[in-house]
Structures are given as C-alpha cells and as structure tokens.
C-alpha cells in the first residue's frame, strides 16, 4: 500500500517449550485486535499480569473499522493512548445525505462546546492497532505473543487451560480468566460449543480504501440512488494519510469475485468522483453483513468481548466501539474479583450490561440496514417516500437512516445502580447507568473532568461536602473511593477542581451538597443531594456485587 506498511512483530519461542511447568496467569486474552489490545492495556494498568495470544504477527489488514466514537476515545484516554490516536486521526462532525442528484439533509455531530473529545475521529483500524500495540509495549505486566494460536480450551472448576500452537510446537498455559476477543468467527466460541445467533442481510457491499489528494472535505457523504450508482447506495469518508473509504452497495446477486476486480471498481469510482480526480486503490473487497449475538457473554471462566460476542453491520460505527466499551465494563470487575474484593457473580453483570448494550446496537444497525437495503416492496416504498419528503419537510429528515452513529448505551436498568431517592428530583441526563459527561474544569490534573475519574471509584462532591475524616476513611477502605470536590474550601485528602464555566453543575444538575458516585468505568452508579457515608458504602457494595438487588429498596 502506498500509505502504510504493516509492521511485522517478532515471534519469540515461548519459554514453555523449553521445559518447565505450565505457567498460571490471572488473565489470558485471546486475540490482539482492538478489543484484545484494549483489554491488555486496561488490565496491565490495573497491575494485573496479562498474557495476550494472537495467531498472526501483524495488525489488521484491509479496510475495517474507521470511525472511533467519543466514548471510545475517552476510554482510550483513560488507557493512556487517546492522544496519539486523535493526533493521527481525522476529526469530522458533518454528514450529508444525498438522494438522486440532490442533498436532502445534513447533520452536525459536534457536541456542545465543553468536551475534550470530538464526536468521532476517523483512523484506519490498522493504525489504531499499531498505536495500541505501542501502548502495550509500555506496560511491563502485559506480555504479547505473536504467532501463538489457541487450538484448545479446557475450562475447569478453578482455572481454564489453554492449548497453544506455535511454529516451534504446542504448549499449554492456564489462567483464572480468559477474555475471548478472537473476532467474528471466534474459533474459541466454536471450541466451547457455543452459538451466536442472528441474521445475515441479503446484500453485498464493495468496500474500498483509495488514496486521493483531493479537496473533498472530511465529511461523511452518503448517497441513496445517485446518478453514478442507480438504485443502490454509496458512501465516501475520509481517513488518515489521504486515504478515503468508499462503499458501494451491489445487491445480493452481485458476484463478489468479479466485483473485486480493478476493471469493475475503477469505472464506479470514476463515476462517483469525476474524471479529473486522480486516485489509487489501496484495498478492495466485497462484504456481506450480519447481526448476531451470543446468548450470554460469560461462559464460566471465559468472557466474550467484541465481535466474538456480538456482530453488527457497520452502519453507525457500533462494532469496534462497542467492543472497547465491553472491556471498559469488564476490566475493573475482573480486577476486584482477582483481588477477592468482589464475588465472581459480579462478572454476570458484565453479561447483563453488555448484552443490553449489544441489543441496543443490534436494533439500531438492523434498522439502518433495513433503510439502506429495504426488504420487500412496501419497505422500499416507505424508504423512498421518506427520502422524497426530506428535501422540503424537516420531520422526514429525522427518519432518514443511513446509520445511527454510535453513542454509549445508558445502563438504566443495571443491577449495579442505586436508584435516586424519592424527592432527590434530579433533572438533566446523568442518571445512574450513564457514562460521565465531560466538562471543562480547572485543577491539578488538567482541564477536563474525565481526567479526574480514574481507574477506581470516585465521588464527585459539589462544595466541601465530605468531611476530612470521611475522605480519609474512604481512602482506606478495601475498595477505596477517591473524593473529588468541586469548589468550596479545600478539604484535607480530597482532590479539588473548579467548575470553570459552570457547565459541570449544569450537566449534572448539581447544587451545593450534590454527590455523584462513579464506577471505575466512569459510569454513574449513584447520586444524592447530600453526602451520607452509610448510603455511599451501600451503593458501593451494590455496584460491586456484594449485596443482592432486593436490598436496593432500602436506599
């Protein structure tokens, strides 16, 4: 490829093949794609030894994930690699939708001012993986083994044994927990005799990366039935290094082998871009899409994440982004279980919460796919009716669905949440189960709220609401809580930030005394109008699976 050379990572003969006992790891991660690498970083940051096994020795090949959502970037910031990804990537906010030869509407995803990260940045998946591998290399507790292929998995009561094949022979290794991030076809899912159920969409898409130094703006352009590709849809979107992603819908009857040929692709691209534009094809392939998920993402000591657990069509960028959010949800729970600070049943909440998110993503992408590739005459008629109305009538623009772009799920019914007390009367959007909204602040860790919500539980208290002895006591608890105070006179032991533009209080509907308890994945799990140490500890116990749901009512 003109713009990128895939790194070749070294294969190292594993120590296990030179004799010696089967080594035991707290966690083994199968698969070094974006999700497996995120797991390695999060666990290593938490001080957990983690072994990552990948059957290949390079990053992803071809044109795959490109749009990285704000929430994914926030997670990668927490994992010490957000900035390098944002620097390499292309920011974008504007999308345009065209029907036949006219634009029918445009949208701007730019969140209101006062967030560190944009709605999306675009960066080729191979770049993201390369940058994640670099980050893993900075963490001594993560070991990454290339050309180590998992060929067998044997769950036992107190461990899981993994058989690995390498160029020098096979060996066994074992762990307390196995994170299965081995992709859509998930060989390990098959080894365990588990299914992933869903549907295949009866359509085919030509996906290509092209190199093009042109003046097209970095906007997402989507066409329904354009003159250059009648009765089908097309997409154009910019990535890093002047590489552009192009999609052409081909229909179910298209021949994938034929359509991949340059002599078929070039005329389509010329028709789309015009004769004067010069470009080179870096990669092209023909895909079908499906939506699937496993019934449960936890199977004993095997925890499934990313495409291995759930698969969606790409409209809306909910694939890799939801896989990264899976790990955000899982790693802190594994840490507590490994340290005997939470029961293993806490890991069932990973399945509950992320299956809920997966269902939301599957519903959204299924709806988008139906709009883009309608099944049956009636569906197609309504789709075309919406597009015809969209030019003149604002309501119809809201119905145009070329992809509902990824937003994090609100875990509103999670068993780990503490419900608001009657009379707390919170407005705004920050109910329990919601990932923290960023806000501009002033403080010792920089200008953004999310930097103060680190890898543990955090209590955000408005005003000097938490007495110093409580701050100290919470810091000494087995599961410590860090107190971050917004404004007010300083309290010994508490971090202090200023709500520099008032957006923090507005977004959190906060007054003096308001307290928010955040989980290590920056999700709200409880909030109150006044600090109460006993209620805080009860909420923490609930959020870490220590007490049963039935006791929630006592709050």
């Amino acid at each position: 490829m003109k713009t990128y050379t895939s790194p070749v990572y070294p294969y190292v003969r594993p120590a296990e093949l030179s004799g010696g006992a089967t080594r035991h790891w707290p966690v083994i991660v199968a698969g070094a794609g974006p999700v497996g690498l995120t797991a390695a970083i999060d666990l290593a940051q938490r001080g957990i030894d983690v072994l990552v096994l990948d059957d290949d020795n390079t990053v992803s090949v071809g044109s795959r994930a490109i749009c990285w959502s704000k929430r994914a970037l926030e997670i990668l910031d927490r994992l010490g690699c957000g900035e390098r990804i944002v620097q390499k990537g292309v920011k974008w906010n504007v999308g345009r939708v065209f029907f036949r030869d006219e634009q029918v509407f445009d949208f701007n995803l730019s969140p209101d001012a006062g967030h560190r990260r944009p709605a999306f940045i675009n960066l080729q998946q191979y770049w993201v993986e390369q940058l994640l591998v670099e980050r893993v290399g900075e963490l001594s507790q993560a070991e990454l083994r290339w050309r180590n292929k998992v060929v067998g998995v044997a769950p036992q009561a107190d461990r899981i044994v993994v058989r690995v094949s390498t160029p020098d022979g096979d060996y066994a290794v074992q762990a307390d927990w196995l994170i299965v991030a081995d992709g859509a076809r998930s060989p390990i899912r098959g080894m365990l005799g588990l299914e992933s159920e869903g549907e295949v969409f009866h359509d085919r898409f030509l996906i290509a990366d092209i190199y093009m130094t042109s003046d097209f703006p970095p906007e997402r352009w989507f066409w329904f039935d354009p003159p250059f590709h009648r009765n089908q849809s097309a997409l154009l979107h910019r990535q890093a290094d002047h590489v552009w992603r192009v999609d052409f819908q081909l229909g179910w009857d298209a021949d994938p082998e034929e359509e991949k040929k340059p002599e078929r692709i070039l005329p389509r691209l010329k028709a789309m871009l015009g004769d004067k534009v010069e470009f080179e094809i870096e990669w092209a392939s023909v895909y079908t899409f499906q939506c699937r998920r496993m019934l449960s993402f936890r199977h004993g000591r095997a925890l499934f994440a990313g495409d291995a657990a759930h698969l969606v069509s790409p409209f809306g960028a909910r694939g890799a982004n939801s896989g990264i959010q899976d790990i955000d949800n899982l790693a802190w729970k594994l840490e507590l279980v490994l340290e005997d600070l939470a029961p293993q049943t806490l890991l069932d909440s990973y399945d509950v919460e992320r299956a809920f998110a997966a269902d939301e993503n599957i519903l959204a992408t299924t709806r988008s796919t139906e709009f883009i590739t309608p099944k049956g005459k009636a569906s197609r008629t309504f789709r075309d009716a919406v597009l015809m109305l969209a030019k003149r009538h604002p309501f119809a623009r809201r119905l145009v669905n070329s992809g509902r772009l990824s937003v994090p799920a609100i875990l509103r019914d999670s068993p780990l949440n503490t419900a608001d007390a009657a009379g707390a009367a919170f407005g705004g959007a920050m109910a329990p189960g919601t990932p923290a909204a960023d806000a501009p602040v002033t403080g010792p860790r920089g200008d953004w709220l999310l930097a103060y919500l680190e890898d543990g539980f955090t209590l955000l208290a408005f005003g000097a609401e938490v007495p110093a002895d409580a701050v100290a006591s919470l810091a000494r608890d087995a599961i410590p809580v860090t107190v971050v105070q917004v404004g007010g006179p300083p309290t010994a032991g508490a971090r202090r930030i200023e709500d520099r533009e008032g957006m923090l209080a507005t977004r959190y509907d906060a007054r003096a005394g308001t307290c928010y308890l955040f989980r290590p994945d920056q999700h709200v799990c409880a909030r109150w109008r006044a600090f109460d140490l006993a209620r805080l500890r009860a909420a923490l116990a609930l959020a870490t699976g220590q007490i049963a749901i039935v006791q929630k009512a006592a709050a």
Binding site: K377, T381, F382, D384, A385, V386, M388, L389, H393, F395, A396, L399
Partner: protein, 72 residues
C-alpha cells in the same frame, strides 16, 4: 385514543380529493403518494399511542378482503 367517530368536515369532498389524488398515476406512483401521505399525517398527529391504535385498526379484518372479482 384513536378517534373513529365522524371527524372529517365535508366527508364526500374529502373522499373525492383522495381518489383524485391518484388520477393518472401508475401503481408505483400511487404507492409512493400513499406512503408520503401516511408519513405526513403521522407526523402531524404525533401521538405514539394514537398511531399504534391506527395501525392496529388498519390491520383488522384483513382476511375478509375480497380475493377476486365477484366476491365483493
């Protein structure tokens, strides 16, 4: 709550307008106009419960449709 009591002013005028809307159209054009009309009116109503009731009412009695000529 969906209102199916008489609520259209000058109902015969409305009925004629509706038929005229489709004059000289192909079947495909008629289907598109009907779809657009549904969407425009649904948005104007803007009440999910009413819309769901209307869809349920529309779906009723479908097996009693005439299947061909002479079965009216």
């Amino acid at each position: 709550m969906l209102n199916t009591e008489p609520n259209i002013p000058a109902p015969d005028d409305f009925y004629q307008d509706l038929i005229e809307l489709h004059r000289d159209l192909t079947d495909e054009q008629s289907a598109l106009i009907n779809a657009k009309l549904i969407l425009l009116l649904a948005n104007h109503i803007g009440d999910s419960a009413v819309l769901r009731d209307a869809m349920r009412a529309a779906r009723e009695d479908m097996t009693r449709l005439p299947r061909g000529e002479g079965q009216g």
